[in-house]
Amino acid sequence: MATAEVLVNGNQNDWSDRYYHVDQILDKPGPRTDPSFLAGEEVKKFLREACKILVIGAGGLGCEILANLALSGFKDIHVIDMDTIDISNLNRQFLFRPKDVGQPKAIVAAEFIMNRVPGVKVTPYFGKIQDKDEEYYMQFNLVICGLDSVEARRWINATLVNMVDPEEPESLKPLIDGGTEGFKGQARVILPTVTSCYECSLDMLNKPTAFPICTIANTPRLPEHCIEWASVLEWPKVFKDKKLDTDDPEHIGWLFKTASARAKEFKIEGVTWSLTQGVVKNIIPAIASTNAIIAASCCNEAFKIATSSAAYLNNYFMLIGTDGVYSFTFEHQKREDCPVCGGQALDITVNKEWTLERLIEMLIERQDVQVKKPSLTTATKQLYLQGPPQLEELTRPNLEKKVSELVEEGDYITVTARTLPFDLTLRVTYA
């Protein structure tokens, strides 16, 4: 029967041979495939019917990621992005057209994918990742990040690490992170609490160039110095509290004019509109091809993790494409003193009648903690801080109070102290 041929796996959008290519991978293991791989229908069913994946960012990497996932057989994809489409996105963000300029990226990208790849559901959210809570992130099997912001990456990384509950295997969400700059890029797999996390590698990041403020003020030499003078010193002086909007052409125009005048005064050449924009927006060069490479690496890892069809990246892939193709795959080490995934964690049982002071004494006495002069907080309150004096005084009355009045059963206490590499987390239960 003709209709029977079209219906595969009960999904009316799947036509026979739709997954001819991918199925070669899913129908049998390769030499490096883990024995737990369940080749055949079971893995296909999980991928195409059960697996739910979140894509953070619908920009340069995000557009590519969405297309690759959809073609690979992921059918329940969510995407978050807070940005709208700008004309400068069109040289690489291939799901957008000139008519889409000004529209939310997440929504346009989701619609495009659903039109192009039948049977794939893409659920967009036009907003910030911080708008969503743990319950939201808990619904996904995997998270892929294609972001250009360090802050947003730190946030999602910390959120996923914090979500890991040792009693609940499903709470561990693999995080795959990609990033590019010009002909260079990197992709990495983070298994929260198991492998090194984003925060562990924070010191590997290049910091944006900053010029000494006295150079900007008094001894400018480069056109960049004149531009920073206009944006860092002159703008707040002239416009007071009005915030500089680097997307507003009028604001850029003012900065350009001001920087040019200063450059002329000091006989410095090279202030252009494009450089002004580049400096104040900290523009990073971006091209379609590098994004394609890095996004494909990320999706490949997502596919391998979701299906167990092949070994996955352990855990960092770095690519430099300026001089031939140079890449480096290595295991980035977890940092013991990482503020997000490092530090110690302890379950402690506290007598309901104990004061906070008694708890602190107990911590100091414990051989396995070895802490001196600890400061204690919960997510919402300061329990006792050793300094500065104002805060010590304010929190001192808590020492007399019962721990059970200050902290609820099952709550977490963050302990910091000079003697601890970073911090210690206590989970409190009452006896």
């Binding site: 052409p249 350009f256 410095i268 924009q277 394609a292 490949n300």
Partner: protein, 534 residues
Amino acid sequence: MSAAVSESQDIEQATAAIHSRPPDNKTRRYDRQLRLWAASGQNALESSRILVLSSSATATAVLKNLVLPGIGHFTILDSAITSPADAGNNFFLAGPSSIGKPRAQEAVPLLRELNDSVEGEAVVKDVKELLRTDDGKAFVSAFSLVIAHNLQKDTTDDLSKLLWSDLNYPPLLVVRSAGFLAEFFIQFHEQCVAQPHTDENVPSLRIIRPFSALTQWASSLDFDSLDPTEHGHIPFVIILVKAVEQWKASHDGKLPATMPERRAFKEQIAEMRKKIDEENFDEAEAQAWRIWSDPPVPGAVQSLFGLAPLTPGLTADAPNAGFHALLRTLEAFVSAPDGPGSLPLSGALPDMRTDTESYVKLQTVYKEFAAVEKVRSRLVIAPAISDEEVDTFVKNAHHIRVLRGHRWGEWDADKEALASSLSIFPRETATHLGLAALSNLLSKAPDGSAVTVDALRAEVHKLVGDNVELPEDLESAIGELARAPTADVPNTAAFLGGMVAQEAIKMITKQYVPVNGYCVIDMVDMWTGTVGGQ
């Protein structure tokens, strides 16, 4: 006032006007890439015509990454009819509605809509047939670059022979993939890279071969008589020129050479300080390497001087004629008895701790002398080369590259080279051999039915010889290939799409350095490597 002068002023004014306005829509659209390859790279892309053989998922992924940055024109040559499998793995087909229609014709409009300024066409013909006719050969040879994905072995052989047969024929990018494994190779005779973007350091500042303006400045400045602020703002270049002068005076005119001498030289700089925290003196110490590692001509550039051109006589219409003319000029400049004996000054100056006035003055000194040397070198240059080209060449003279490529298939015929590579780069070479073996088997049965681990191993033995011991890595590679011999999976296609487009951009813009050899990719353990480039 002569006409030429007023004309150049007009250009200057016009350029100034361009730079002082918000950019036009085209510049805005390409802003993020213009910051990498500038207008010169963009112009090269826009005048390129690219032929892609096949409209597989990989082929369209490559094209996507070429259409977006704005190549001039593309042609897809493919006789295939869209299969249900194609409709499932190719983003540039319209899903099931494309099934049964010519694949190239279905893909072209979906690629063209990515960028209005790019032209594209589908030619629904068989490559093999086409290459049998003279018209077909002429058609294929007229592009700027030809890219082929998973083309049959014998067709690839024919095509590569054709394109190798004339220095003016386009480079050929051969791409092969199956499942998680892939490789690509660029067949080209010669690639001259005037802007490699590989060394971000400012080239020689001529501190050990100072020109008169520099020595005059250094010797006329009495460091001791300066007030602390002025002393803390002497440009490091001047500090170093002075320090070298002093060193030479007490060391028989020789430069510091040995490690202890270098240390002593740095100590000498330290003694010139008035206060311990003078950052300009910190810079001078940090830049002291410019005293001992500043060859008049870097070794790699020197070796280019001896490179025989591929076309004897080097007529103006020979490939890379302009580059070679500039290279000869450079050589003449270096060996000129009245010249500096080194590469011409680039004119660039790094930022340094000093006051505005000194910096601007130093910048002027460098620019003016660079202009003098340019005029001197210009005398030898063919007038057909634009001033802009000369400037770019001089700016990059310290790291220009000339790559000499190889014919596709040459390496695979060299048993000794393969065996040696197999012992030095086992996993990369094994993966390449696996893909070559797969290609041989698929030419017998395109559906993959002849592909088994044993058959692949036997093919590999045919390539390297029966007595060569095969590494463990070969089993990993051929096992994956036997698992998915005809699979063009979306992630591998997208990865290759990026890689191959990136190399195509390098070839066309002559900026950045392309791969020379087989770039091999394994997406199981996620690594890449290059073999067979010697």
